[in-house]
């Protein structure tokens, strides 16, 4: 009994002591919260000030990691010139410039070298242009750029039809495909059973692969012929662009969302215009489900028709963009981790990892071309398919 009483007393004492600690902790926590808030505010203010300072004086010394980040962002975006490498100490870029074509009170054509990578303001017929963060803006003789609250330029942009890096890459790849396939086509012209010679012999199996593994199983033996030109073009264009993106030329065409959007829109248009009665019936009045469900499903099916090309667009864009960023990041190990690993170690690790990843990217290059073509043929196949069994059931 005594022990129980003693322990009860002890418990009361502990609770009493602890309660003061708790209340102290509470006030302490409140104080802490307040001070955290204050710190956050001041940090935000400092960051803002730093950002402003950065924009006003762009020649602030950047860290190695920031430089790498800038380089990757710059590579992923479109550009008005090809830059193969640059000498940072001298501020020199080695590459070639591309023509800029603007429509702004008449046609204005000049080489992008006149911008000197954004350092100079170009004057054409009394109108001034400035290259700022990869975009051309109208400006005055001093090259003033106005900003809105989020530091985006508010200057007007001229209508831009320039041969940018992506356009030039696309034209080059198209020419390459023409050269490759004209050779292949010529052999069949001379005789139905001729064997293609040289490089064309490597292309024939891939053409057959697209036909036998994608077009025929998905679209069907009777209808596939009509869609072969599109499927082949899209397959070889994406495959070649992906592969060229891995060369040091600096192509990043399939990693540009406007290009993949354009390809996806082509698939969408072809799907919609070759669709038969059954396809539209499945969208607006789904057979085989109760009437309230039919009404509910119609908007979702319409949405689904739009989401299909959307997912095509995002899949290709995201895969290539991610691949390029990661390869760049791994190459950057050589510069960023030089001190931590030693020059030799950094080069070794960076080289090993990036080589490994480039091999993976070759696989991805094929896989993305394959999946884009496969899904395109699948969507086309779904649009042209005959649903005899559905008709028989109802």
């Amino acid at each position: 009994m005594v022990t129980l009483k003693k322990s009860l007393n002890l418990l009361a004492a502990v609770i009493f002591t602890a309660s003061s600690v708790f209340s102290y902790a509470q006030t302490n926590a409140q104080n802490l919260e307040k001070s955290i808030e204050e710190t956050e505010q001041s940090v935000a203010e400092t960051l803002e000030a730093a950002e402003e300072a950065n924009h006003e004086h762009p020649i602030v010394e950047k860290t190695q990691a920031q430089k790498v980040q800038d380089h990757i962002t710059h590579h992923l975006a479109d550009d008005y010139s090809f830059v193969f490498f640059s000498d940072e100490a001298e501020g020199k870029n080695y590459g070639f410039s591309l023509p800029v074509i603007l429509i702004d009170n008449g046609l204005k054509v000049f080489m992008s070298s006149e911008f000197d990578y954004g350092k100079k303001v170009v004057e054409k017929d009394g109108q001034f242009y400035k290259l700022y963060h990869g975009k051309i803006y109208k400006t005055d003789a001093a090259g003033t750029i106005d900003y809105d609250d989020t530091h985006h330029p508010t200057n007007e942009k001229p209508l831009d039809f320039s041969i940018t890096k992506n356009v030039a890459s696309l034209l080059f790849t198209t020419a390459l495909i023409f050269v490759m396939f004209l050779g292949l086509a010529k052999t069949y012209k001379n005789g139905a059973n001729n064997l293609p010679k040289g490089f064309a012999r490597a292309l024939e199996p891939m053409v057959l692969y697209v036909r036998d593994e994608m077009a025929i199983p998905n679209i069907g033996k009777d209808k596939y012929r009509k869609f072969m030109p599109y499927l082949l073009s899209v397959f070889f264009l994406i495959f070649l662009l992906n592969l060229l993106g891995l060369t040091p030329l600096g192509f990043n065409v399939t990693g540009s969302i406007s290009v993949t959007a354009c390809l996806a829109i082509f698939t969408f248009i072809i799907t919609q215009f070759s669709a038969n009665k059954d396809y539209w019936k499945h969208i607006f009045w789904m057979p085989g489900v109760p009437v309230p469900m039919k009404i509910m499903l119609a908007p979702i099916e319409i949405l689904g028709a739009l989401i299909k090309p959307f997912s095509l667009m995002v899949r290709l864009f995201a895969n290539i963009t991610a691949g390029h960023s990661v390869v760049f990041g791994l190459i950057a190990i050589i510069f960023v981790m030089k001190e931590a690993l030693g020059t030799g170690g950094a080069i070794g690790i960076g080289f090993f990892l990036s080589t490994f990843l480039v091999f993976l990217e070759i696989l991805v290059a094929f896989l993305q071309a394959f999946i884009f073509t496969m899904l395109s043929s699948l969507f086309i196949g779904m649009a042209v398919a005959e649903h005899e069994h559905d008709e028989a059931h109802h």
């Binding site: 469900m293 499903l297 979702i300 949405l303 689904g304 299909k308 997912s311 899904l375 699948l378």
Partner: protein
């Protein structure tokens, strides 16, 4: 035999479902937006319309998947 299966669209037929995640996500999100709009418009307390609509969206998205899988199995 597996080659024969492939010719008939064996494994390929499952590729139909590759856009399903996108479609489910967007369906649910749109229903959620619709519910939010309803709450705002009629001043419904506790976001009841939002909750009901989001759940309805989840249900419809699931229904779609099940219907498609059913269709694939039937072919």
């Amino acid at each position: 035999m597996s080659g024969e299966n492939q010719k008939k669209g064996g494994p390929n037929k499952w590729l139909t479902l590759i856009t399903m995640p996108f479609q489910m996500g967007i369906t649910i999100f749109l229903f959620h937006l619709f519910g939010e709009w309803l709450d705002e418009k009629y001043g419904i307390v506790n976001d009841i319309a939002n909750k009901i609509c989001t759940l309805l969206g989840v249900g419809l998205a699931l229904y779609q998947v099940i219907r498609q899988v059913h269709q694939i199995n039937k072919d």
